[in-house]
Amino acid sequence: MTALASATQHATGSHPAADQPDEARAVGARKITPYLLLIPGLAWLVLFFIVPMVQLAVVSLESKFPGYPGYYYLDLAVWNYRDALSEFWPHIIRSFVFAGVATILAFIIGYPLAYAMAFKAGKWRNVMMILVIAPFFTSFILRTIAWRQILADEGPVASTLNALHLLPGGHITETWVAVVAGLTYNFLPFMTLPIYSSLERIDPKIIEAGGDLYANGFTTFHKVTLPMSMPGVLAGTLMTFIPASGDYVNAELLGSDISTKMVGNAIESQFFRVPGGYPTAAALSFTLMAIILVMLFAYTRKFGTENLL
């Protein structure tokens, strides 16, 4: 177990042994209780998550039935993956680069907000948390359209930058900058809230002690606060990076026709606009999923699963 994991347990005030009911096991009748509690929810996840994923895996290995649009047959067409990758590899690379940059930006923007909520907001804590979630109710589509207006050539940002000759291409919308800006904005709450919830559990006395020990705000933050908030940072980066890498709305509304499309755009158009595109879309979905799972595996190997599960 890593130092990180023990830091979490300290922060949450729980210990592995605390999860384990001691007396509950002694009572025979209660042995079935956990399963009764689990069955409805897990059945839902099996029926509407596992089974669909298996079906999608099957579709990714199917071929078009010649002459019957919309019909497919299973012939273990592994080459679907090769064909999908050779056509859409730039989309996949863009997805991960855009999502990576957006995740780093969201961390830089979201951490101070989470920190202020946890340590500076006092009784305004919950109100600030509500304010972070409230924009969801305007709908992220409307807010992304608003960003298109804000970043448009005649909008305040681009026109100011252009007047100062600071915008090389002359545009922000229709470029990757706008797409990354949109991703950063839209997934910021998913970065902020997990960091907030791990900061909130830290006893302020520990930070005070750090302050007495190091007598320097920056060192205290670096040596005490940041390490103790790592579980939240890990969860936040995943909750930002994963949905951002699969997003297609920002690229659709803020990007250009060709050079800023992400893998999500490719999957969406193969599903809805390309006749017989289901196998390609399914193969792309699984490629995206596989890359994410590999990254997730590396991540949990490095930082431990206790922080995530």
């Binding site: 949450t12 929810g41 509407f48 999608l56 907000l113 904005y185 559990r201």
Partner: protein, 272 residues
């Protein structure tokens, strides 16, 4: 000198947090301003002639389908929240309060939907709905959206309720059983009230996620519409400013309701 530095450091954090909140609200403010736009076909460019106008606020249900999509979103959000909160909390209680075979697998099964991009969830649900589940009468529409939303909300509920249960002091429940409370009484009188803030937070998050979901909804909705889908579809054809009226109003209502809830909770806490 040192105190001055601390003061700057302290307020620097709060000031940057306020700037970040303003950044979060900037597009919401834009949505509000453009709800007064006397626009032409699409509400994208500001039209100075005749603006600002109140006409969109006076007839928000004018554009066909807008209010129906809002009603769908609210119904799906409420039902998905209810079902996901119950099912997810049950899983969380089982994980934290019981020891059983298959715990690790359960944790993984709960975690995986959150680690799956929405587009993959949407694509997989679409394939199973059109290639298998239609045989048992599940046509794409309101119910398939609801099923999908419950699925992705369950994981968020489990994580939130679990965190709350883990942070609770087990001594409180031990004290209850020491006082001869049977397990059922202990649960309803001690455990559940203590877990309630976590459950409420999970329910609020579920409703927000369901209400704002577009990608999964777009895959499984067929002809049915939700508010985000209405906005997206009409963006391609010409978006009406009434959508801004509805979007901004929902934002205000959400803030007012949650702040009111907070005030009631504060008052109740004081009363005890």
């Amino acid at each position: 000198m040192r105190r001055l530095r601390y003061w700057i450091a302290d307020n620097f954090v709060m000031m940057s947090a306020i700037l970040v909140l303003l950044y979060l609200f900037l597009p919401v403010a834009y949505t509000f301003v453009f709800s007064f736009n006397n626009h032409g076909k699409s509400n994208i460019a500001w039209v100075p002639e005749g603006s600002p106008t109140l006409k969109h606020w006076l007839n928000p249900c004018g554009p066909p389908g807008l209010c129906q999509s809002l009603v769908n979103s609210l119904q799906i959000g409420a039902l998905a929240t209810l079902v996901a909160t119950v099912l997810g909390s049950m899983i969380a209680f089982a994980l934290v309060r019981h020891n059983f075979f298959g715990r690790g697998a359960t944790n993984t099964l709960v975690f995986l939907p959150m680690a799956t991009p929405e587009i993959v969830l949407g694509a997989s649900l679409l394939t199973i709905f059109v290639q298998g589940y239609y045989r048992v009468g599940l046509e794409l529409g309101f119910w398939t959206i609801l099923i999908a939303h419950i699925m992705f909300c369950i994981s968020f509920v489990v994580v939130n309720v679990k965190a709350r249960l883990l942070s609770m002091d087990p001594k409180l429940e031990e004290a209850a059983s020491d006082l001869y409370a049977d397990p059922r009484t202990t649960f309803w009188k001690v455990t559940f009230p203590l877990a309630l803030p976590g459950i409420t937070a999970a329910a609020l998050l579920s409703f927000s996620l369901s209400f704002d979901d577009f990608i999964i909804t777009n895959f499984v909705s067929g002809d049915a519409s939700t508010f985000p889908k209405f906005v997206y579809v009409s963006y391609l054809r010409g978006i009406p400013a009434e959508a801004n009226v509805v979007g901004f109003s929902m934002f205000v209502i959400a803030v007012l309701l949650t702040v009111a809830g907070q005030l009631i909770q504060n008052r109740a806490a004081k009363g005890v």
